[in-house]
């Protein structure tokens, strides 16, 4: 039995691995050569056959003989040289800069003798230890300099302590729109009061304010020589027309609105003072706030001005989405206004407000009236519609205006556009369930088709409603009378 070394079996395995490795290596090399021979860059078919016989010189010779290889190598060399040159140049300039800085720093350190300079970077200061010594060198300068320096020497970091920051009293957050509304309303009423006061100056009716107000009135009265004026009552409509002409867009500049404020109104005459006080107390962010001002205003002329103003500036209260309660509220405001205007027999203003319902193109519809669920058109309640008819009746009493075409139009609307809503909280009478759709654009196509069955039910409800029947009866008799007269 031959004597085998103890690791014989391991040796055997190693040899196997080696051969496998070597063999595999060779085969992969030949694979590469096969693959690259088509490119013709390094290995030719001969080299593959006899790899040991190739000499370096002939290899190089062959290599450079191939077209393109020489060019490839030369470009590489040139690029490499370029990089090196650039790097050297950059390094030189940087070193020069640093050296200059060092020289300068060493120069600097000579001036205040005892100041030790930081070596690392040329120009460094406020290090706290240095500051005290730096101060010594400043002694020659006047004392004030010391004071200035002391104030700012330590650090540019300002430390604010909470209790030292003066906080302003909480300022109400308001929108641009509401500011603009406020200022516009204030300006209108202020100008009106001034106008009225000048007209009535030195009469019993004059409403006096504090000294500064009276002075202003007196000055204006004198400058225009108003002594012999006959008319002592201002015409609100005339006034509004001129005011609106001049100040329509005056209160839209954001900077001005940001800096605006209500003047000290304690110097004004009582009605204006009251108005400013109310204005000061509200935010005026929606029609609700406007309504509260309007309802509380006692002065007839102020009310009239507010109505005129609202018609022209209704768009300021336009909301993208309106809550249901709000929209009911807005409609209520419309009702009160139309009632007031009708009673005051203000024909022109009444026609304007009624045109919101009558004219399909009037954009104010969406401010006062909301869209019904399922219908994309604004609608009014029966009450509102009857209110408008009543108003027309009121106007016609003095024969101021021939209402027939408008009322006919309204009754036509009642006849054709009436629908029933499923209001859950139907309070008492069935008439509150009725809504009348308003045409939005010209032509009836804007109103969805209403089935005959619904119409029939509407008429039933209408015929049971006392208010409707009374109003319609009145209209019929009036028309008959008018026709009789003609």
């Amino acid at each position: 039995m031959p004597l085998l070394p103890p690791y014989h079996h391991i040796n055997k395995r190693l040899v196997r691995i080696w051969t496998r490795f070597h063999h595999g290596f060779c085969s992969s090399a030949s694979r590469i050569s096969k693959f690259s021979s088509s490119n013709g860059i390094i290995l030719s078919s001969q080299a593959q056959a006899n790899p040991t016989r190739i000499k370096l010189s002939s290899l190089l010779w062959r290599y450079f003989n191939e077209p393109g290889n020489l060019l490839f190598v030369t470009t590489n060399i040139i690029a490499f040289m370029g990089i090196i040159t650039y790097n050297t140049l950059v390094n030189i300039s940087r070193e020069k800069y640093i050296q200059e800085g060092r020289i300068l720093a060493s120069l600097n350190s000579h001036f205040p003798d005892n100041v030790r300079r930081n070596e690392e970077l040329p120009l460094l200061f406020p290090k706290e230890e240095e500051q005290s010594s730096e101060k010594d060198s400043l002694e020659l300068l006047p004392k004030i300099v010391d004071k200035v320096e002391e104030e700012n020497e330590t650090s540019p970091l300002t430390i604010y302590s909470e209790n030292k920051i003066p906080l302003v009293k909480s300022v109400k957050v308001t929108s641009m729109k509401s500011e603009s509304i406020k200022l516009s309303l204030f300006h209108m009423i202020y100008s009106f009061q001034l106008y009225k006061s000048v007209l009535q100056h030195n009469t019993k009716q004059e409403e006096k304010g504090a000294a500064s107000w009276n002075e202003e009135v007196e000055a204006m009265w004198k400058s225009l020589n108003m002594r012999d004026t006959k008319v002592k009552y201002p015409n609100t409509y005339e006034f509004y027309k001129s005011w609106n002409n001049e100040f329509k867009d005056a209160f839209t500049n954001p900077t001005k609105l940001e800096n605006s404020y209500l003047p000290t109104f304690s110097v004004y005459p009582a009605p204006l003072k009251w108005f400013c006080d109310t204005l000061y107390g509200t935010d005026l962010k929606d029609l609700k706030d406007f309504q509260s001002i309007y309802q509380n205003t006692k002065s007839k002329s102020f009310r009239n001005l507010l109505e005129l103003w609202l018609y022209d500036n209704a768009f300021l209260f336009q909301r993208k989405t309106t809550l249901k309660e709000d929209s009911e509220f807005n409609e209520k405001l419309f009702q009160t206004m139309i009632q007031d205007i009708g009673r005051a027999k203000n024909t022109q203003l009444f026609l304007r407000f009624s045109s919101i319902i009558l004219k399909p193109s009037n954009p104010r519809k969406s401010v006062f009236f909301s869209d019904l669920n399922g219908y994309n058109v604004p609608s009014v309640s029966l009450e509102t519609l009857l209110g408008v008819i009543d108003g027309f009746a009121e106007l016609s009493k003095d024969g101021l205006y021939d209402y027939t075409p408008d009322v006919t139009e309204l009754i036509k609307m009642l006849k054709s556009n009436c629908i029933i809503t499923n209001k859950a909280s139907g309070s008492g009478t069935g008439a509150s369930k009725l809504r009348i759709l308003l045409p939005y654009e010209d032509g009836s196509s804007s109103i969805p088709e209403i089935s005959d069955r619904v119409k029939q039910r509407c008429y039933e409800i209408l015929s049971q409603d006392k208010h409707t029947m009374e109003t319609l009866n009145q209209m019929v008799t009036k028309t008959a009378q008018l026709e009789g007269q003609q």
Partner: protein, 273 residues
């Protein structure tokens, strides 16, 4: 029917309101705490200026302009067209921001330097109830002689240092150490231009050299920049630009930006205008 006189009154009244913006109740009545000609003699304290010409205004907003202060005048609020040109002559003041003379940072105070005491009094009267951005303003006259002098020297120092800093880093350092105190010989226009071209920048990395900073922001026309201050956590750089547009662009592009996306290097930029 409205008579002719009434129409005349109406147009006159509205025209007047429109052009002058005069509204009763916007200006304070006499007696606003400032000494009047009557009681000037009675106040005889040491170091007291009876007729101050400087008003102090405290605000944390570093970018208020002269126009902001002019727009406080109630007539400007209520008149339709801005009256600033009229106001310039009527009130005539220069607006000075209190800045740290060494580090150029805004120090939460504005000074309104009037031509004379009468103009100051007039301005202070009309703005008694005024609001600046909805906050009631509060102007305080500088009546202490020391305070007044301090404000003047402080401002003078600031201007000198800024001129030096705009020139070069070395000039600035000489200036700071009081070695070459050169009086400012530049016109206001030139000074303003210099302020427009300057920025201070907080929180750039401490280990960045000025040349690296300048290279990093190669897109902007930076004249030069250098470190004004640093400690372990923060740094303050001064940037001088060759034109104001680049300075403005730099501020609008980098204020509040995290440098290298690191919260530690949140860049804060302050212009000196």
């Amino acid at each position: 029917m409205t008579s002719n006189k009434n129409t005349k009154l109406l147009t006159h009244l509205l025209g007047n309101l429109k052009s002058t913006g005069r509204i009763v109740g916007t200006t304070a009545a006499a007696g606003n705490g400032l000494p009047t000609s009557n009681n000037i003699k009675t106040i005889r304290r040491p170091n007291y200026i009876a007729k101050p010409t400087v008003l102090k205004f405290t605000s944390y907003d570093p970018y208020l302009t002269k126009n902001d202060f002019l727009s406080l005048i109630p007539e400007n609020v209520f008149a339709q067209a801005p009256l600033t040109t009229d106001m310039e002559t009527k009130y005539d003041f220069t607006l000075i921001k209190k800045r740290d003379p060494k580090y150029f940072l805004f120090k939460d105070q504005y000074y309104l330097k009037f031509l004379n005491f009468i103009k100051l009094q007039r301005y202070s009267n009309v703005t008694k109830f005024a609001r600046l951005k909805k906050v009631r303003v509060n102007f305080k006259p500088l009546q202490n002689i020391h305070e007044n002098d301090l404000f003047m020297t402080n401002h003078q120092f600031y201007l000198q240092n800024l001129v030096a800093a705009y020139k070069s880093k070395e000039a600035y350092l000489q200036q700071i150490k009081g070695l070459e105190v050169s009086p400012v010989e530049l016109s206001t226009v030139e000074m303003e231009e210099m302020e427009e071209n300057s920025l201070v920048v907080w929180n750039l990395p401490n280990d960045m050299k000025p040349i690296e900073v300048q290279n990093y922001f190669w897109f902007y026309d930076i004249k030069h920049c250098f470190k004004l201050y640093w400690n372990d956590t923060t740094s303050l750089h001064y940037f001088a630009f060759n034109n104001s547009k680049d300075a403005a662009d730099f501020k609008s592009n980098f204020h509040g930006v995290n440098f290298h996306n690191e919260a530690l290097y949140k860049i804060l930029v302050e212009r000196l205008i």
